[in-house]
């Protein structure tokens, strides 16, 4: 479904990604793990078209999307739930969700999608007339995921969805990610919470200094000695 082929990304003269390749197949949850500054978010930003790699290619459903704008990439069915949520604080929850579905089928089916999102996150239904800026961190994260789902994506990019959440919310957030996946959305998950994200994913990639250093099935990676030592402290 998604093929990232040896992309190199620079900020000015500084090279952030040194040839990253990865693949996401239909129906999977794929985890991208690594420490701060390893290039996880940069990879995600390249896929959603907010930055463009200097070298390498990104393909989605067989089409090259390397140089497309975020506008076109959303249209093709990739939705990005960014780190830090990037909501519209002075818009209501309802308006935030509406802004996730701006064109075509997604716009026509706004109501239907919204009902599904309110099933996933019932609290948002109660809060729908509130300004997004007044919500708690956990609720804002729900709005961010909901907004991402509004475009009816086939691939959802989740960047640090559990960051800044109270521990009690983290587990339920993972249950919901799992649920979104079983209902048909493929997910590429970026996380610092290595244990959690490796336990729900099908496959995982470990990034270090802008390169993939390990990849494999989630459970295998969890058993990997290096990962245990470096990321899980065992």
């Amino acid at each position: 479904m998604l093929r990232v082929n040896d992309i190199q990304v620079f900020y000015g003269e500084m090279q952030i990604l040194r040839g990253i390749s990865l693949e996401v197949n239909q129906g999977e949850i794929v985890s991208l793990i690594g420490s701060n500054g390893a290039g996880k978010s940069t990879t995600i930003l390249s896929i959603s078209g907010l930055i463009h790699p200097r070298k390498g290619e990104i393909e989605f459903n067989g089409k090259k999307i390397t140089d497309l704008s975020p506008f076109d990439i959303v249209e093709m069915g990739i939705s990005h739930v960014p780190e830090g949520r990037q909501l519209f604080p002075s818009l209501t929850v309802l308006e935030n969700l509406e802004m996730g579905a701006l064109r075509g089928k997604a716009k026509r089916e706004r109501h239907k999608t919204m009902e599904w999102i309110f099933q996933l996150f019932p609290i948002l239904n109660e809060r729908k007339r509130q300004f997004a800026g007044t919500l708690s961190g956990g609720e804002q994260q729900m709005v961010a995921i909901g907004r991402g789902l509004m475009s009816i994506p086939s691939l959802l990019l989740l960047d640090e969805p559990s960051l800044g959440l109270a521990p009690i919310f983290v587990s339920s957030m993972y249950d919901i990610i799992k649920k979104i996946n079983t209902e048909g959305t493929t997910i590429l998950l970026v996380e610092q919470n290595v244990f959690k994200s490796l336990s729900i994913c099908n496959r995982g990639y470990v990034l270090e200094n802008g390169a993939v250093t390990l990849k494999g099935i989630g459970e295998d990676l969890l058993q990997n000695k290096l990962i245990k030592k470096v990321y899980l402290g065992m």
Binding site: S48, L50, P70, F71, I73, V74, E75, H80, P82, R85, Q86, L87, F88, P89, S90, L91, E95, N96, E98, M99, G100, L102, R103, R147, S151
Partner: protein, 290 residues
């Protein structure tokens, strides 16, 4: 002090204040969305006034009717200004932004000077000399009409932003540019529309006050400044603040002209500016943290 005169000034100021509000809403919208202060705001109004003036003189179209022509033209001017000029400096340091906008102002002033010369022009419309008498108080019909239309247009702008899809996209892009890009809003287009709408507001205001003030190429800066004061008073980027602030400054200037000397009316608005900056720098309706 004559009480009738005072009430007269109060009403006159209130009515003009409505037009000030519309000018300031345009400035505030542009600032709120792009964080750019349009220092060519008054000059855009001046250009709109010349268009209105010539439509009136050559084609006998009343300024109020000519809004239908002026508003889209000035929208287009603002749209293109954003697309081709402002867009290039949207991430530049503030000083660069100010220089560009001042440059645009100078170009527009000199363009007007070049084409139409430095003379004062006055459009004597149908309503120029008509007035309504209420007790001992005269209400200028031109001002009343200007006020009414300014209010209607302001409400229209509020509704546009609150209810329409494009309005929501404008507010979303103003709130969080990255977030807007991520959901697939064409941010550059939304910015250009905002600049167009902000310009159209001041353009309409120009058509409305044409019958009230003499027109010349140099009237821009004082209106840019007045609307800037209003926006600071109301709170940067707050449209409601710009609306209320416009009325306050209109009344204050008008009372100042009566109570002091008419050439000192700006003293009042600048005093208000200083007091606001000292005691409530975020403005009446602004928020403290950016």
């Amino acid at each position: 002090m004559n009480l009738t005169l005072l009430i007269q000034a109060l009403i006159g100021g209130f009515l003009v204040g409505g037009v000030y509000s519309l000018i300031a809403i345009g400035l505030s919208l542009i600032f709120g969305v792009m964080k750019i202060i349009n220092f060519a705001h008054g000059e855009i109004m001046m250009i709109a006034m010349y268009i209105t003036y010539w439509l009136f003189v050559l084609l006998k179209i009343d300024p109020i009717i000519s809004i239908i022509i002026v508003a889209p033209l000035i929208f287009l001017l603002g749209y293109c200004m954003q697309r081709f000029l402002v867009n290039r400096i949207i991430d530049a340091p503030e000083l660069i932004q100010i220089l560009l906008m001042l440059g645009v102002a100078i170009v527009l002033t000199n363009l007007a000077l070049f084409i139409w010369g430095p003379d004062h022009r006055m459009a004597a419309t149908r309503f120029s000399l008509s007035a309504i008498m209420l007790g001992g108080i005269t209400i200028d019909v031109s001002r009343l009409i200007a006020f009414g239309i300014a209010i209607i247009v302001s409400i229209g702008v509020f509704l546009f932003l609150a209810k329409t899809e494009t309005g929501k996209m404008i507010r979303a892009a103003a709130d969080n540019r990255l977030g807007a890009q991520i959901v697939g809003i064409k941010v550059n287009r939304v910015y250009a529309i905002s600049f167009g709408v902000g310009s159209a507001c001041v353009g309409i205001a120009g058509a409305l006050i044409l019958p009230l003030i003499p027109l010349d190429p140099y009237l821009g800066p004082s209106y840019t400044l007045t609307s800037f004061i209003i926006v600071i008073l109301g709170g940067m980027g707050s449209l409601l603040g710009a609306f209320i602030g416009g009325i306050i400054i209109g009344v204050a200037e008008s009372l100042g002209a009566v109570l002091l000397v008419s050439s000192l009316k700006e003293l009042v608005s600048f005093s208000i500016l200083i007091v606001i900056l000292l005691f409530r720098p975020q403005g009446l309706f602004g928020t403290r943290n950016e």
